[in-house]
């Protein structure tokens, strides 16, 4: 597919790339960072160093299988307070969260709680 060069073409290219890699968009990524830090943080700590739930820092998750971590987020852990997020988060979003957790989760951006 040929498109005219320019801002319009670049924008479409970005949309296409996002679909290919199935990554959440920038705005959604910010919402996911807020969700993990603020809402998951209720149990895992805002700094993700743990609370009622275990630590989710890169060090704490080192050696843990990404698919297993994704399954925990998707289905929860029966017998513990960890709830399932299937239905609230897409598979792609869960994969994105797991990858970010494994490399060290990004901080809340400045004015983090604003849209």
């Amino acid at each position: 597919m040929r498109r005219r060069q320019g801002a319009f073409g670049v924008a479409w290219g970005l949309v296409f790339a996002a679909v290919v890699h199935a990554e959440p968009g920038v705005a959604r990524q910010e919402a996911l960072v807020r969700l993990v830090r603020q809402d998951c943080g209720a149990c895992h700590g805002l700094s993700l160093r743990g609370g009622l739930g275990p630590a989710l820092t890169a060090e704490a998750l080192a050696g843990k299988d990404g698919e297993m971590l994704a399954a925990v987020i998707t289905h929860g852990r029966p017998g513990t307070p960890m709830p399932p997020f299937a239905g609230l988060l897409s598979t792609e979003e869960i994969t994105w969260i797991v990858e970010r957790l494994q490399e060290g989760f990004p901080p809340l951006s400045a004015g983090s709680s604003s849209p």
């Binding site: 700590g45 700094s47 743990g50 609370g51 929860g76 307070p81 609230l88 983090s112 709680s113 604003s114």
Partner: protein, 380 residues
């Protein structure tokens, strides 16, 4: 009067009965607020990780003790805004309480699990009570710490499923007794008279009850039939019991894994009914006159607040104060209610009688709101 009174600053001349603090959870700061007007008086920064932070007040209501998630305990001066004392007392903490006589501030810790008592004056360590180890060999996490009459503190242990009571009558030599309570207690509350301690159980049905008048009776189980045979809904935030709601002879409790508020008869602990609400309740709080019960909710229903009529046990109003309503606090006589809207960076102030907005205050990711009158109450 002596010359010193002439030297009092304007700040010192102010009373503290209408003051409070608001936790700004993401930025490690707190706001000092006043509810008469209402207004923000000052911001105090440098308090560390304040996710899930909680606050108790000194007996004279001048100082606030802030328990940070990162295990720091800070004493704030409300009249001369700033940190009067600070101690890094644990690796991971969840809250605290202050003794009946106001001399001991006790922190409840996850890591290392146990409680620690500090001098309310300068925060020096007075005593500590490590929790028993759980199945993983590490000291159990302490939840639901509450002050009781007689320099006692009740709390529950998450991994070992016990209710414990530590008596600090001899401050540096506390005596502790524990009794089995049930699987995975997640929070506790003391009734307003300091008589009964209740621990909510995540791992099984029912609520654990301990009678401070009859410790020899051990822990009883109440509401045993609740939830039996029903599949629980996922819980995205553990409910809090600490904001107990007792209205007359009725106690209102958040259900766990059900979008309901439980109504319990206080005399015989029987379930009187359940009120269907808009989500997993987090805080269930009685307006001080007991006529209404206000409820906020866990993610993803945390944009709403519902008001239950304490007499008819029906939802009489549904409010949408903002995004991510994390906490509510009534003024001492309940003319106002303050609501923290984390994702709007705002505190909403409502007339608690008419449910109409009367003001808003800017705050960064606000969570807990605590007014100084808590100093005069058990369990707060």
């Amino acid at each position: 009067m002596s010359a010193s009174s002439a030297g009092l600053s304007e700040a010192q001349e102010r009373g503290t009965g209408d003051l409070g603090v608001v936790i700004e959870r993401a930025s490690g700061s707190v706001l000092i607020v006043a509810h008469t007007k209402p207004e923000v008086l000052a911001r105090v920064e440098g308090l560390g990780d304040l996710s899930h932070a909680s606050v108790v007040f000194s007996r004279d209501q001048r100082f606030a003790y802030v328990f940070g998630r990162d295990g720091a305990l800070s004493k704030l001066d409300l009249l001369r805004p700033g940190i009067a004392a600070r101690v890094q007392q644990a690796g991971n903490s969840i809250g605290g309480a202050i003794s009946q006589d106001g001399r001991l501030v006790v922190a409840q810790n996850y890591e290392p699990g146990g409680i620690k008592a500090f001098s309310a004056d300068d925060l020096h360590l007075v005593a500590e009570v490590p929790a028993r180890p759980g199945p993983n060999g590490r000291a159990a996490k302490v939840v639901g710490l509450a002050d009781l009459p007689g320099q006692r503190f009740a709390y529950a242990l998450f991994e070992t499923g016990e209710i414990c009571v530590s008596d600090f009558s001899v401050p540096d030599a506390p005596r502790t007794e524990c009794a089995p309570a049930g699987r995975q207690p997640y929070d506790g509350l003391v009734t307003p008279d300091g008589h009964f301690y209740l621990a909510g159980l995540f791992g099984e049905d029912g609520v654990a009850l301990w009678d401070s008048w009859h410790p020899e009776a051990g822990v009883q189980r109440i509401l045993e039939g609740y939830g039996r045979g029903e599949a629980p809904l996922p819980v995205y935030k553990m409910p809090h019991l600490r904001g107990w709601a007792q209205a007359g002879e009725r106690l209102f409790l958040p259900a766990v894994g059900r979008h309901e508020v439980l109504v319990v008869e206080r005399r015989d602990w029987r379930e009187l009914g359940r009120v269907a609400v808009a989500g997993q309740p987090v805080f269930v709080m009685a307006r001080p006159d007991g006529r209404e019960i206000w409820v906020n909710f866990a993610f993803p229903d945390n944009g709403r607040v519902q008001v239950i009529d304490a007499e008819t046990l029906t939802v009489r109003d549904t409010l949408e104060p903002g995004r991510a309503v994390l906490h509510m606090e009534f003024t001492p006589k309940g003319d106002q209610v303050w609501l923290s809207c984390r994702d709007d960076d705002q505190i909403m102030v409502y007339d608690a009688m008419t449910h109409r907005e009367i003001g808003r205050l800017a705050a960064r990711s606000p969570s807990g709101i605590f007014f100084t009158y808590r100093a005069t109450r058990f369990g707060m």
